[in-house]
């Protein structure tokens, strides 16, 4: 016989979960007592519930498995909300278990009561309120199935305290099968559409493959590479899709969109065929949708039918799982008797664009300025020292864009960032989740002095569990991305972007938690410090790099314009 609390933990274990991230509290005490009395599921105590969800999220993104967080009712639940919204926007499989006040107290404004099902409703794939303890194993099974299948997403299980009461026992039974009345999961795409797509791909003179996070979710990188090689078209990745196609491959033209490369954005606006694989035409990509790809036919693979024709209408919709649909396309492409179109003229044009305004063009004349460190150079150094093999998590802002532009990800699941919601504070806790999943891998959190302070308390968690992540702090002494917009659009009126003299001494701060802090102020010291940070295998190193405070992220799409309307440096623009 088991109690609800024991059943909950046992069901997690039956779902092959051996690590969860959380924070205890009154309504979750029975569950925590059940955790104490077993050794299959390890609980990691974070310092704030937001971090618990981000850690579970980082774990999920790096492994492809479902991450689990456990929080208490009321403030525990509301603190988890930012983490849940982050996972929802990026379609990350999570199960978040929240304690709730006892059933008879629900609705009475009881101590630490909040309507978690209501508050989380718009940012979950689904949610469950446990209404009888015996249901717990079946609910856990459904929750994991829903979180991880189709277009993945977070699922909340809200557990009133009486449902985990140790005095109420029942026979534990983990269901073999589950029943859902309406939950279709798309597999292969319609063969007619597949054959139409191949005809278009073969006929296109200026095709582009634009792939997103869906390729990573569906573990379809291999299939994407195979098909791309057959077509020979340029490949660009969204911020969420980086690593799905190897960045060092000749066909890769960099990230596209708001801060995409000049060549990727030019290719998108000049293409006669845009082939979207697992991306969603969001506003950071399309810029003004009315001016998007006017000359291009469009093919769209998506596992979520509601993503099709949501923003951009397409000619061929391939509804299905990216991995399966890409395999179908490969087969059809191979068997098709149609001739491939010669893409040499297209590549000639693309290479011209690359030479004209490739990413590094505006950095070349700065090589003599040995003392000033450009943020881009920090990422290049990080790339060199880690040989491009590290897991890189990031926070949100300029540093995130520099990392996305300059760290060449050759493998999926190595680039971990909050793309959709843009959550500052995501970097450090998600790096913890990655490090738990891959203890022997290099894990670096690229951050800024603004973002890192949003979850800085997790330095303590890293200390408790001995997590030697490397924090690369691009410190420009201001909220850089906001400052950039204020430079560009608000006449340099710097409203609330400076901390004046209140920044902590990050070296001492790191040391106070038992970590190593290193400060880098000159370009000549950068590589050496980066190497030292990664040579200290067992230590968390906080590398505080003072960078040029005036650098902007370029290219940058002009608001309301087409994808070819870019600012490419402080002085130059394409329009």
């Amino acid at each position: 016989m088991t109690s609800g609390g024991e059943a909950l933990i046992r069901a997690l274990s039956d779902e092959k979960i051996d690590i969860i991230f959380g924070y205890p509290g009154g309504a979750a005490l029975h569950i925590y007592d059940a955790i104490y009395q077993q050794d299959k599921v390890q609980h990691i105590l974070v310092r704030h519930e937001q971090a618990a969800v981000h850690a579970a999220d980082g774990f999920a993104r790096a492994t492809g498995k479902t991450g689990v967080a456990l929080v208490t009712s009321g403030p525990g639940a509301t603190n988890a909300i930012t983490g849940i919204a982050t996972a929802y926007m990026d379609s990350i499989p999570l199960v978040v278990i929240s304690g709730q006040v006892a059933s008879h107290l629900i609705g009475t404004d009881a101590f630490q009561e909040t309507d978690m099902i209501g508050i989380s409703r718009p940012i979950v794939k689904h949610s469950f309120l446990v209404q009888s303890a015996e249901e717990i194993p079946a609910i856990v099974k459904k929750a994991f199935h829903i979180a991880s299948s189709g277009r993945p997403g977070p699922v909340v299980i809200d557990v009133p305290k009486d449902m985990t009461d140790p005095k109420v026992e029942f026979e534990y039974k983990f269901p073999k099968d589950l029943y859902l009345r309406s939950y279709p999961i798309l597999g292969k795409a319609d063969p007619t559409e597949v054959s139409d797509a191949v005809k278009m791909l073969k006929a296109a003179k200026k095709p582009v493959i634009y792939s997103g996070g869906g390729v990573i979710q569906s573990d379809a990188s291999e299939e994407l590479v195979n098909l791309s090689k057959m077509i020979g078209a340029p490949v660009t990745n969204t911020l969420m899709g980086l690593g799905a196609f190897p960045a060092t491959d000749n066909q890769f033209i960099g990230m596209l969109g708001m801060h995409g490369t000049y060549e990727a954005n030019m290719v998108m606006s000049e293409a006669d065929l845009i082939f979207n694989v697992g991306a969603r035409f969001d506003d950071r990509i399309t810029n003004n949708p009315k001016k998007f790809g006017l000359e291009a036919k469009k093919i769209h693979i998506d596992s979520d039918p509601s993503s099709i024709d949501k923003i951009i209408n397409v000619d061929v919709a391939l509804q299905g799982d990216a991995k399966l649909v890409l395999s179908q396309l490969c087969k059809e492409f191979e068997n098709s008797k149609l001739k491939n179109t010669d893409l040499k003229p297209w590549w000639g044009q693309i290479n011209e664009w690359k030479e004209k305004h490739g990413l590094n063009h505006n950095m070349l004349n700065l090589e003599n300025q040995k003392d000033i460190i450009l943020p881009q150079q920090v990422i290049q150094s990080l790339y060199k020292v880690t040989k491009g093999k590290a897991f890189i998590t990031s926070d949100v802002g300029q540093h995130q864009m520099f990392a996305a532009q300059y760290y060449k990800f050759d493998e999926p699941r190595k680039w971990i960032n909050s793309g959709g919601l843009g959550t500052m504070g995501f970097g450090l806790p998600s790096a913890m989740g990655v490090k738990f999943a891959f203890p022997d891998a290099d894990v670096a959190c690229v951050t800024g002095e603004g973002s890192i302070q949003m979850c800085i308390q997790e330095l303590s968690t890293c200390s408790q569990y001995g997590l030697p992540v490397k924090i690369i702090n691009l410190n420009n002494r201001a909220l850089g991305m906001v400052k950039q917009w204020q430079d560009m659009q608000y006449g340099g009126r710097y409203s609330s972007i400076s901390y004046e003299d209140s920044l902590p001494d990050f070296v001492k701060l790191a040391e106070s938690f038992g970590h190593v802090g290193l400060k880098v102020e000159k370009f000549s010291e950068l590589n050496e410090a980066m190497e030292e940070a990664f040579s200290l295998k067992d230590k968390l190193v906080f590398l505080d790099v003072l960078i040029d405070p005036d650098e902007h992220v370029y290219p940058m799409l002009e608001a309301g314009g087409s994808m070819s309307e870019m600012r490419i440096s402080k002085k130059d623009k394409t329009f």
Partner: protein, 172 residues
Amino acid sequence: MLSHIAILMENQPGALSRVVGLFSQRGYNIDSLSVAPTQDPTLSRLTMTTSENSEIINQILRQLFKLVDVVMVQNLTEAEAYSIELAIIKLIAPQEKVEQIISKANNLEGKILNEQDGHTMFEIWGDSADIDTLLASLKDEEFLEVTRSGLLGMTKGNVALNTNDQTKISYE
């Protein structure tokens, strides 16, 4: 133009708020809504009208179907469907006068439900637009109260919003 959508969903606490929440969350407008359990007490049927354009309607249908609690969705506007709305209206007027109002109302049927102290309550049913017309024609000083069912609808013939299927997801 008003679109008319029928939804079959799990009769679960929270299911209705997911459907209604979807509309406010994505900025869609609901003009009318009615919901009640079906002959199968585990299922509820919800019918709603919205004045969004057809592209948005397609998006609404897909977003609705994505909700785990939603079992089936049907666009009654495009189908051959029968629809009706019922209203109960109370006027400060004697029964004879209300009887005249009912008999003159275009395309509507109705009957007196109750008269008390010079207040007459009646029910009336038919097209929503005709009910709108009737309500607009009532004199302000006579009018007291109205409640409307929202449009109800059903497709004709063998197409039905009805299921007993449970999708079994096997892990073997």
